[in-house]
Amino acid sequence: MRTTYLLSEISQDSKIFGGKATALMRLQEAGFRLPATLCISTEAYKQFISGSSIKEKIQLELHRKKFSDMRWEEIWDAALRIRNLFLRQRMQVELAREISNALEKNFAGNSLVVRSSAPEEDAAATSFAGLHESFVNIRGTEPILEHVKLVWASLWSDRALLYRQELDLDFAKSSMAVVVQELVAGEVSGVTFSINPTDATEGVVEAVYGLNQGLVDGAVEPDRWIFHRKEASIKEHYTPQREKFMAPQGDDVILTGLPENKSLQAPLSPEEAVAIYRKAKKIENVFGKPQDVEWTKVGNDFFILQSRPVTAGQDGDKDDKRGWYLSLQRSEDNLKKLRIKIEQEHFPAMKKEAAELAKIDLRSLSDKGLAGELENRLQVKEKWTAIYWEDFIPFAHGMRLFGKLYNDTVSPEDPFEFVELLSNVPLLSKNRNKALRKIGTYVQQRPDLQHAIAAGGAGAINDAEFNRLMEGFISLYGDPFCGTYGDRTCDVSRDELVSVIMQMAGNSTTEKKSQIGKEANKAELESTFLKISKEGGKRARAEGLLDLARTSYRFRDDDNIVLGRIEEQFFRALEEGRQRLKKRHVDGAAHLTARDVLRSLVDKRYKLSGTKAKETPAKQENQHIKARQLLGQPAGPGISRGRARVIDSARDLALFKKGEVLVCDAVEPNMTFIVPLAAGVIERRGGMLIHGAIIAREYGIACVTGVPNAATLIHTGDEVTVDGYLGIVTVGQLDKTISLPGVGK
């Protein structure tokens, strides 16, 4: 069956040609000027899918767990795996031949744009920008076929999946058509809304120099004209700081500085703005609905690139977190700016603030002074938590951006191979663990000291060197037990820290073993990646993005550790307040919230609100139901087995024994020091690039994340097998005669 058509040959059937293609066809019929366009129907997608195992692989990927239980990170991970399936699957010869012939006949080697044309896009509800991918400035038959596959894959992008879930689009019936257009590199491009999505009496024209890509992904701020919709006259003109523009270069599209004469001049004259607004109104008449029109201007002529119905409230209601999730996807330019902000401002400031707080002697403060300090620390903690969500978390997208580029360049068998290039860097967690091990070795060499610790706790030790080492550690890294869980005081936690240190002694082998071979492999992967990038003339971008991703990876750990120190300082003040209230015989002082503590400190007659600090919910135990095999994500390759240690409180951390399997809701920043002791890591929170997974991978420890209810279905003492290759956790005793790869018998 035929798959590739000229625009003049297609029907209005959006199921076959998709919303974008059918809209373009109508515009062409109505006499608007368009770039030369080919349409690859959904039939091509169906042929590609049905001739391969992709269909079932996608289903397997999406049914790993209930879709509604998947965190945004997990959806992203699944989408990356699916994307790789498309990259690695060759197009059938017949299909490739038909598309290639049409491309060669109609475009003769010109630069092209490959756009999605999804059948659902004609429905107003799904018609928002950027749900699926488009690629600009692609040249040559092979690369175009590759990008057609990537457009198909974008039917399963994280964005698409997030929205398709709600739209209840049937996964199995999903399909995608593709539009291939000649790249018209106008001097000015833009988007026109015949109706302003936020005000029905207005219309909007946005314009930038160069290509539209800068405007669409937010890298270039446009000039903005607000129109009186009825009169089609200009109401206001907002001028941005014009600094950059997007231009095709080689096989790429890059952001470049704008020459000064242009930066002082609006990309459109008022007359031109009116002309393109009127055009959009005419297009609205063609479709009978307000339109969002993308265009580019060559000489005095406007080429229409695409048109779709305007939709309001694209990010959903306020409770809908998807808009926020999608805002985590930052452009390279945006991430570079974020990096500077984080490296030069946030991180040093956060470290400084934690260190300053640690200097204050809380015991010397008056009750009023302590209340003030607690209030201050609460605010500091809230401030940094907000910055963490606002800037640090989006910065993690640097890893993802690189991952996509790496996979596009290398198309590796393992879609997460790129993480190898990022790993093995000096992380704060690893330095902290090294420091702990050093103290451990010191204790291990001194049996007297061990006895003294066992007998009287760490507080009663008079070994000066030991105390010096401990103080040095705490002043550099803080006490990871203090503040992690509300049920321990910081003094008690000191003993617990020492008990972990004892475990750490002589544990250097795990780390060293895991490093051998890793470095060599990393160097080899890096050189292959950069070599291929060089061939495509994209080496500079590849190197830049790799560097950005490495920073992003490192901060995933470092920001957590320092935020942990801030939280510790807050907790120390809270703890001091609770102690003082306890001495005053205030009821339930040990569990009071920060608000209650600081009010009670200054006002002796203050009546407690009765709200207690959150306690961990009681475990649901059912003796007749037992989990045998649980499915999560394979977040750290390897297989291991051991007794489970479920972490509910700091006490559990302190009891952790070398060779046990760490089972937790999430590996908190202050828990990572346990990881090198663990045989395996099981986490409820899902994702391949989350903090816990990164740490486990650094130590070469088998890790499965995203196991729903891991911490309630698995009990301390259960024998568990962690299969980090397949993402499977098996609970229960195994036949000891069965040897697992990498597990000692």
Partner: protein, 159 residues
Amino acid sequence: MTNKKQLQREIAELLLSQKLAVLATQSSEVFPYASLIAFAATDDLHKIVFSTPKATRKFANIKHNPKVSLLIDDRSNNAKDFHDAKAVTVLGAVERIDIDASQKELASLYLSKHPYLEDFLRSPSTAFIIISVWSYYLVSRFQEVMELHIHDENDIPAF
């Protein structure tokens, strides 16, 4: 059904038409243990292969006792199954547990039937199991049972 070739063909068709089989193994506590597996059979019906993670019960059972039974059927969960469905019971023994993918031909036979299990099969924590079949028992028309013997019982290798 009277002729061996016809019986062989009918069994082969059934095996080819089905992707999943019920596998029965026996634990050290002597309980039979049934599992659903994705299988493939060789054209000559001599071998049936499947894959499993090594941390599973069925794998432990096989290590303990290589004798297994399988059930493969084409039922559709309708009343017509009583006259229309076919089921074949297989007896055999695990002749090899392949951990290094040395059985390339059998592995590619398996993957051509289950291409979506490629990553699963390649995982270092997965074992590829090769069953040497001793006999088939084909049940059709509600109660008609025909036997096809591939090996003598004495041929079954001892573990």
